[in-house]
Subunit: 244 residues, 6 copies
């Protein structure tokens, strides 16, 4: 039962004797097409973290359900945290973890918009001491080969891949009949408050219509395996790197 | 099913047509004696909010699981957000809610340490526009008469009342046999980093030994009723006040 | 003559040899009904501090005359400091005091709106070192029995109690003939920029019409005594607490 | 009686009908040689402001008793506000004044260390609207000819001029027998935390030994006259400038 | 001559009539192996911008020579700006540009560490109004085919590609004989203050030994062409995107 | 070749063995009359710094081309950095320099508006350690006697002195035929967003019409000499001060 939040302060001391790895889960609350729940980016990494909590000794923190969703802030239902505030919030959590004798903090991140804040926070939180933050942007860093195998259309926001994943994890929240496809591809990173709805029409980037529960299952299973492998590597004091 | 996070961005538009009330749940992750889980202050208001979600049309936001736990920061397992960062985070969420056509935001707060941040955030978030934040510090604002009726010892942090409540909501996480009693009463508000463990020995303020599930049930049921009454009042455009 | 500000830097060194207690006075500049001066919340704690300066060795700092008066910011004459700025300002003063060899800092606070900022500042300023901040919200923490004895109506903002106190301390600034009574009682903490004038009509909370100088004198005398008792306790290294 | 703080919120409305000028007084609490009080930089402009309050309709705000005293922060008794916090505090006060229908804000500044913060605050506070901040660094902008006439040694921190002024205003706080002279002259602005005591030995810059009450009186009288002239000019809507 | 800085304020008005595009150049000052100058990440985009200034009407801003170089901060010579400060600095420049009637701001970025700050700044600066920021991370967004053609080893920090480019632009500053090769490949984003020198040994990521001036020339020429094409597209009001 | 930016990280280590002095150059991008380039305040100190780089071992940092130009922000072409952001940016650079074993940092400042930010940054950056910041506001601290000799009209913004200097350094950027003269003299420091164009008409303060290249040459030559003298003094461990 390695959910950090469920231990008493005595219990956490014992748990900390058995692991050096903590998993921080970062989500978002933002429009995901017309067919996926607003919490999609929190639901998926939380599911993965729960799987991991069953199978390793790494401690899983409660999910941070809000993120930087500026890109979707014009779509109703989106609640976006100012990125500089989000940075400081992440930093506070990271410092709090490292205060507690742990060495490795895996950020299991479910949302692209959080990346700048996570990077800046991690630099500051590890500035001193022997601490390491590993940011796992799970939708692109994990399950690469499974994705390649199952996807018939390119991955993206509320696209075939993500839709399949939610169909596996929370089928009750998917309204596939309402799904529409849009994909505006840009050559460079275009940032513009007034073009948000044009760059991401219907809060979509991709084509969800070929999504199936089975595709989602295959992706999630591989992601789970890889995440457990990473934790095991860290428990043995090895960073996931190779020197060329 | 009024959990904000479960709607799609189309779904939230319809939901917003039917209510003007949103519930924001603010918790903490901090030492609660030797017998209660670290997430106690998140578990209890989340439970209340879920009950409310079943019985009203008010939309319930995902719980913010970390708070200002400076008082308990020397006890292992506590993760505390810097209060000025927490203020800004709350403000970002509040502004995000009011951007979405809602008028009333009930903050269902589970943790005393969050109050300064909540107050400051609410002032700023309601500075403009016709918006109202109502801070419900549920452990002291709700179920007053039930508490009076059932409590044999004074309420407090991980005390008889709170222990009973967790026994009702998450009995699996209570280790009553490990409970100890401490109560350091101060005449004034004493704030001191170096006296934290002396002011709150064993992360306790009160006596949990007379806690029972039944006491918890009675408190939670009354709290739930009063919260629903408040929501109904707000839905009719009435603030909970009387002019003398 | 223990006013910090009146010593030379040589003089303060000697004074610091004789006491470990400093008194910081925090006021506000805000509308107080139609009959009391804007500086009411500075005048009263300053008066108490001056009394204390005559009778103990504790050093009294110059009063900070502005505070967080957001609640009254729509009434002319109110000048309100942004609460996050106020927090940092208080923190700077507290750190400056503790840099000077003192151990105990009593904040003699005259204004409810300052409490969140004072709490947050004190946490940060005492994070390291053997320092203690004691926040005395004098209008509710001191002279409780005197208040109970003399008040015919409930206490409050510009109410019977506060009006009596100013009548005792600065009778020339009270226009009792212009006093009006209003009292909007709320069940929960309601924060709303647009309802400020409705929640506190005429910048009032209470009934000042039964105020007398004599009532004020009795309250102030008891407050003074209790404050001196607290200082004496601290000079002997005892915090105002009891372990139950 | 034009002290802002002494009016009720009704009274300030009438006062505001009769003037467009407000005086904000900014001091400091810092070591001033071995013979002058720590509050010197607050005492002198406060005295001037009180004189002005008697003779014009301009409204005088309560003195801000702390400033940026970084240069003297190694001398006991000095309490210094972080300059970025001080900037925000000043800005909050300025915005509060301009919210109240006034057009001209004279900052009667008693302390050189406050100038950067005042300049930055004033830019921000006047960014919008028809408002003007006029910073009067009284010890160099006022009474120039009187100073030239009476001074036998160069002016400076706790020097002949300042000492004379305090002798006129608060003779009880001057310990002339303890005065020492030091003057470290630099070609450029040297800023260095570790050289502070070397750059300003004994917290002195100048020679206070020829100070007399009479010299102080002459300076203060001229300063008062010039300040009143400035206020009168502003009341007629004229800025103190000439076009060449 | 479209360098913004060389125009008078009259001249810039005319220049602004002829273009809607501004180029902001963001560099860094950080260790680049043992053979490249610290300013490498400023030198290369500045060179490109100068080329563009000759051939289009877009206005080129002066290069910001410092960036977020946290990763290399343990190597002597690196000067790193705190990322949150850098964010605000970029934001100030962007807002200043958009205040001046321009619509499109191309950020010609020379340094990976700046990306989080640039993204956050651009969101805020374009929140209101019809403005667009396009971030061109030139070393990966431009000249892709030329790179593919000429590179014999993978690109990277002070690697074959970057070394070739500096050999083309500033051959006098390259000490190829001192070049060493290192490449630590990580599976995930690892951020750790204490592992910085291990993750980037000798401030290197790649193999510079096959670098030639000719390779650099080919890359720079293609980059220049593509940048000019982007500017021309923007001048015609077209964003670089395709709708699928 | 002592430009910091041109060294490799190995090279800078050797350079640091030979000097303890670094020169930081701070400019601005703002309207300078109708005849001078927007970069005037960067061009002049950069020129001086380059001269110094040829003749001493002090290391010259790349110029920071933007500053606080609030006063001219209503004139097209001006880009102004928020002063509080600028303060933090300067602080980051200063801390980066002192991290690199240097002791003395000369700020060669070309712009009056930067002074508050520089002062505040320097206090913080030198708070700890044996570091010294020397702010040289070159247009008033250097070449005083040359200025006195050559100037026929008072110095100022885009005035005779500054115009002559740019004529010496970058004659191609001066449009003397377009020059106009304005000089609004104020008795006190007047700060007002809405009066900016009135206080500095045509972005001018002074009369540029008598400017000549020769006058500029004489000023720059003396400035250069004095700056070299200062560096030499510092290299020998002497601060530019005299004790009286």
């Amino acid at each position: 039962m390695p959910f950090w939040s469920e231990f008493s302060h005595i219990g956490i001391q014992k748990a900390a004797d058995n692991t050096s790895v903590v998993v921080m889960v970062t989500g978002a609350l933002e429009a995901h097409g017309t067919h996926l729940p607003l919490a999609t980016d929190a639901i998926l990494p939380t599911y993965l973290a729960e799987k991991v909590a069953e199978k390793t000794k790494a401690l899983v923190l409660p999910t941070i359900p809000f993120g930087d969703s500026w890109d979707f802030n014009k779509f109703e239902g989106t609640i976006s945290i100012d990125p500089q505030v989000l940075t400081e919030f992440y930093k506070s959590v990271m410092i709090g973890v490292f205060k507690n004798r742990f060495r490795y903090l895996i950020v299991l991140n479910g949302h692209g918009g959080n990346i700048p804040a996570l990077k800046i926070a991690a630099k500051s939180a590890t500035e001193k001491g022997e601490h390491v933050v590993i940011i796992v942007n799970w939708w692109k860093d994990l399950a690469k080969s499974a994705r390649e195998l199952v996807q018939e259309t390119p991955g993206g926001h509320a696209a075939e891949d993500e839709t399949s994943e939610v169909m596996h994890v929370r089928p009750d929240l998917v309204h596939l009949s309402k799904a529409v496809a849009h994909r505006v591809v840009t050559k460079f990173d275009i940032i513009s408050g007034s073009y948000r709805e044009e760059l991401l029409p219907s809060a979509m980037y991709g084509d969800p219509r070929k999504a199936t529960e089975e595709k989602g299952r295959l992706i999630m299973e591989q992601a789970e395996e890889e995440l457990i492998a990473l934790i095991n590597e860290l428990e043995q004091g090895r960073l996931p790197l190779t020197k060329e």
